[in-house]
């Protein structure tokens, strides 16, 4: 009896057709100079204009009903779209999070009015969401949430601060986990709720945080007496912890957990065709074998999710392995490039490689740190 459930699922010809359409579009956009490829594009490269083009082509909102502006397809189609955009290093950061997790959340917990109002705009690539989990005192210790939502007549009054909210400066909404009632003694998981906040409301202040490379794609978001209506509470009052951990488990096994740096390798391969020496052959063979294996695991989970199974531990394993792999990929490319005289390395190659190195630290932090992933695995193994 094998411990982990990773089915091997063969490619589907209909999905491969979709892949070809994506490839043609991305090639055209890149050649027209409409974007410059970058590693970690799903977090750090945002271009609302590009998101709207994706929306027009029907590549956002694939998984939900056309009644709400979606395209009645499955998470497997979405997987193909996301892995192709990652491979291309396309600027998909604006819509990524809303498409991945907030639209499904609204479908499950939103009112009919919210669904009709917001989902079509997400699918059009026009409406973006930020994640409101971390706080200055709550990162890996997520339950240590201090930001409060207090019941007032007809709604909730929010006070406090969220941090590391990627893209909040261009987002329209945040879904935040907030304390709606006190913890029950040592049980801090009770009394937390998920609330959707319109970021244009009075009392919301968004301050960019500059990262070590000089980019400012994440933010501090302050709430001072921000009033949201009752229907912005998503799901069950006090049930936020369970909803959030369920969501996190769903999003840990996607292609963004191991393909974020693939653009760096592919750019190098174009430069290095036929020029690699035998030490580099060994590096390349090992790297590609790992990528193929991780792709198999991630695709296997995508198919399980598609069948309604949510394998939390398997997802944690993919994230741990995948994050290590994407950072290793960047290191291996540095070694491969020694086979090319420095003056022959293109500026494009060097730009992408440098961005990849500078953007590597958060890979093993966001979405649950490597240490948290290993804790989840250890629990499944019966060690804690």
């Amino acid at each position: 009896m094998q411990r982990f459930n990773f089915p091997v699922v063969q490619p589907d010809p209909a999905l491969e057709e979709l892949r070809s359409e994506l490839q043609a579009f991305l090639k055209e956009e890149r050649e027209a100079g409409n974007f410059q490829p970058e590693p970690e594009c799903w977090m750090a490269s945002s271009d609302p204009g590009f998101s709207q083009k994706m929306g027009k082509r029907g590549w956002i909102g694939l998984t939900w009903s056309s009644q709400y502006g979606g395209h009645d397809k499955t998470a497997l189609e979405r997987y193909i779209v996301t892995e192709e955009t990652l491979r291309a290093g396309a600027p998909v950061g604006a819509h990524w999070i809303a498409d991945r997790q907030h639209a499904p959340m609204l479908l499950e917990h939103g009112t009919e009015e919210q669904k009709r109002d917001i989902l079509p705009r997400i699918a059009a690539g026009q409406c973006y969401f930020a994640i409101g989990l971390s706080e200055p005192g709550a990162g890996s210790d997520l339950a240590n949430v201090k930001t409060k939502a207090e019941k007032v007549d007809g709604g909730w009054k929010i006070n406090g601060q969220k941090i590391w909210s990627s893209g909040a400066h261009i987002c329209h909404y945040m879904v935040a986990i907030l304390r709606t009632s006190p913890a029950d003694g040592r049980n801090r998981h009770v009394g937390l709720s998920q609330i959707m906040i319109d970021l244009s409301l009075p009392g919301v202040t968004i301050k960019p945080i500059t990262d070590l490379s000089g980019d400012a794609h994440f933010n501090e978001v302050y709430f001072e007496d921000v009033i949201v209506p009752d229907d912005c509470l998503l799901g069950e009052e006090g049930g936020g912890w369970k909803q959030v951990t369920g969501e996190l488990a769903m999003e840990r096994s996607g292609p963004e957990r191991f393909l974020s740096s693939y653009i760096t390798l592919e750019t190098a391969l174009y430069q290095l065709q036929g020029k690699l020496g035998s030490d580099s052959h060994a590096r390349l063979g090992k790297l590609i074998a790992s990528l193929r294996t991780l792709r198999g695991m991630s695709w296997g989970i995508a198919n399980l999710l598609h069948q309604g199974v949510s394998p939390e531990t398997e997802a944690a394993l993919v994230k741990d392995l995948g994050n290590r792999l994407e950072n290793d990929l960047t290191l291996q490319v540095r070694a491969l490039l020694n086979d090319l005289p420095a003056e022959e390395r293109s500026d494009e190659m060097r730009r992408i490689l440098n961005i990849g190195i500078l953007r590597s630290p958060p890979n093993t932090l966001r979405g649950g740190t490597t240490e948290v992933m290993r804790g989840i695995t250890a629990r499944q193994l019966g060690l804690r």
Binding site: R3, F4, P11, G285, K286, A289, G375, A378, R384
Partner: protein, 341 residues
Amino acid sequence: MINTEGMVAETAAKIYTDLCGREVPHEAEAGTYPQALWDALSENGLPLAWVSEDNGGFGADYDEVFGAIWVSAEAASPVPFAETLVANWLLDRAGIAIPEGASTFALLEGKTASVPFASTADHVAVYDAGNSEIALYKSADVPAGDMQALSPDGDVRMDFSGATPVASAATNISRRAVEALILTVRAVQMAAAIEAALNMSIAYVSDREQFGRPLSKFQAIQHQLAVAASESAAATMAATQAASALARNADDPEKAWHEAVVAKVQIGHSVEAVTVPFHQVHGAMGYTQEYDLHHFTRRLWAWRDALGNEHHWSKTLGAELAVTSPDQIWKGVTTGAWIAS
């Protein structure tokens, strides 16, 4: 996941449960060959699973038999079950009659070859790519080296230069097809051994107390085994992808070569990443002959070297990819189609 359901795998599972308890690999190493285990496998026809019906076998699907191989490796099989399957597969392809008893296989390099189970198997099926020939030798007719091997059934060098085969025949089967089969068999065995040793390590740290609490309660131990578990899961995926590629290309096993090489590279590199923590958490106990851990770790060390180690295969795969278009490489990574169709 390797499918361990189906008649072949379930029959093997029952036999190994009944006749290959944890003491059996110890006894085998001390000189008591588990004949009853071999006889049960043989009486049920399992070593003939991949042999065509015309040649006295039952032409089972690749899939079903890989389940049986998984089961045998989980039990640290001290009899050459997987090796006989491979040998009989080779002989069947050359139309050579399948001999009675246990066999092993060799890929000839010049006049010699590294051969697993050389002292146990009655026969050796030898694939000679250079001469496009498959030959059957009696093991007793072939001089075998005598030196420290990595595992009790590990490879030793056999010298075929002065030996006369009992049968031989020309074959048109390619070296890559043979490699695809052998690398996949090894991948499945290795993934199974990694998981068995992981389970053993989890049980040990849950039981063993130090500083007043079980080792499992130390985060340093938990994280080592969590990493090993991720490598174990990846190994099983790589092995399953290779097994699935063979099953899909049963008519032309050469087409499964890339996925088999990917598995060899992935799992070969995983061996160090798992055997180090497995031994580390077991402390000195795991280094003793008395304890069971080495039945898996020594086999893993032997298997990762067999037919070329992970570095050799990384280089072989990489050399091919180095002259493959980036589009085709991406296609391989995402769909397993490594060659333009």
